[in-house]
């Protein structure tokens, strides 16, 4: 457990430091955040054609209301926590890669739900938007990470060979 904790915190700090480097921000984080805005717009468009994506900004052409997806809102931090947890836990490289890819997908899927919900909550009531944005959604995203990690542990356990009785 102690080994897991030390590895987890070390990987977490390392990945956070890497994420904040300017070249990484320019080449990975910002384009990825723009992609999230585009995916959110593509999902909304069939139901609401007044939505447009401008880089990291999601805008409603009718009301002029816009949300900008900033650091902390792109799900990268939650994904880093998951990656650190999976990487720190003993498993084969293939299992780790599978878990990281699947986990990243689940975290980002919920994050897109967050972005879309915040976009509409903001147009409806700003106080409710703030509540969800600052307090509730971060908790829900971290719970998502916890669920994914718990499923990963169960999956690892099930894929282990049965212990022979002596």
């Amino acid at each position: 457990m102690l080994r897991f904790l030390i590895l987890f915190v070390g990987i977490l700090l390392g990945l956070f430091s890497v994420e904040m480097l300017n070249p990484v921000q320019d080449a990975v984080i910002q384009p990825f955040t723009g992609l999230l805005a585009s995916i959110s717009t593509a999902l909304i468009m069939p139901f609401d054609d007044s939505v447009i994506a401008q880089g990291r900004i999601l805008r409603d052409a009718a009301s002029g209301f816009a949300v900008s997806i900033e650091s902390g809102c792109n799900g990268v931090e939650a994904a880093i926590v998951l990656v650190a947890g999976v990487a720190a836990f003993p498993a084969t490289l293939r299992q780790k890669c599978t878990a990281i890819l699947a986990g990243f997908f689940f975290v980002q899927a919920l994050n897109i739900v967050r972005i879309i919900s915040l976009f509409y909550l903001g147009q409806w009531n700003y106080s409710v938007f703030e509540w969800f944005h600052l307090y509730l959604w971060p908790v829900l995203i971290m719970l998502d990470v916890l669920v994914v990690f718990a499923i990963y542990l169960q999956w690892l356990g099930k894929s282990a060979p049965p212990v022979e009785a002596s």
Binding site: F16, S71, L153
Partner: protein, 200 residues
């Protein structure tokens, strides 16, 4: 099964714990603000005068002032610049932790909650100090960075990310996991961990 129960109950309890946390206002943040005041005024007496609660905000009175659009020392300016920091940005970890612990149905839950609260106050104080560091960096810039014991701008940004964006949601999970020991859910998690570890 037990994990599913834990997650569903946590989600069900969150409206209650978040309601209580919001209704309590500054009550849950007060010890963290006091710790932050002690920490900052001891480490940076030339930057920070005092920190105190004003509603749900932490009011941080600096040793800087403003006169004619220029940033001066408070003595030269004849006034002091104060920053208002929203303590709810870090104190919601208490509401999350409360929901996790209540859903776990552990023994001695009140004692465990008190212990967890103590740790969360320490973590919240670090979070508030990180917000203060970021705000001072943006407001004062060079003179702030040149003060002794002030870390470089990159470290301030990293600690802000870690202490403000991550720890309010991660720390409650760690505390909950630590306090789960001995419960049926912990036995199940430990069995999963042991099976998974035996494979690797």
């Amino acid at each position: 099964m037990l994990m599913r129960r834990q997650i569903v109950l946590t989600l069900a309890l969150m409206p209650i714990t978040f309601g209580l946390w919001y209704a309590a206002g500054s009550l849950f943040a007060a010890p963290a603000v006091w710790l932050c005041d002690v920490l900052l005024s001891y480490l940076y007496p030339s930057l920070i005068d005092t920190a105190g609660l004003q509603g749900a905000d932490m009011q941080l009175v600096t040793q800087f002032g403003e006169s004619g659009g220029q940033l001066l020392t408070a003595k030269e300016a004849g006034n002091q610049i104060a920053l208002e920091i929203n303590t709810l940005l870090v104190s919601y970890s208490i509401a999350f932790y409360g929901a996790l612990l209540m859903a776990a149905n552990v023994q001695n839950s009140l004692y465990k909650f008190s212990l967890g609260l103590f740790w969360l106050w320490l973590i919240m104080a670090a979070g508030l100090a990180s917000i203060a560091g970021k705000e001072l960096l943006l407001l004062i810039g060079g003179p702030f960075l040149n003060t002794s014991l002030v870390p470089p701008a990159d470290v301030i940004a990293l600690t802000y990310q870690f202490n403000v964006l991550l720890m309010p949601t991660l720390a409650p999970i760690f505390l909950w996991c630590w306090q789960l020991r001995g419960s049926p859910l912990w036995e199940q998690i430990a069995a999963d961990i042991n099976r998974a570890s035996s494979r690797a």
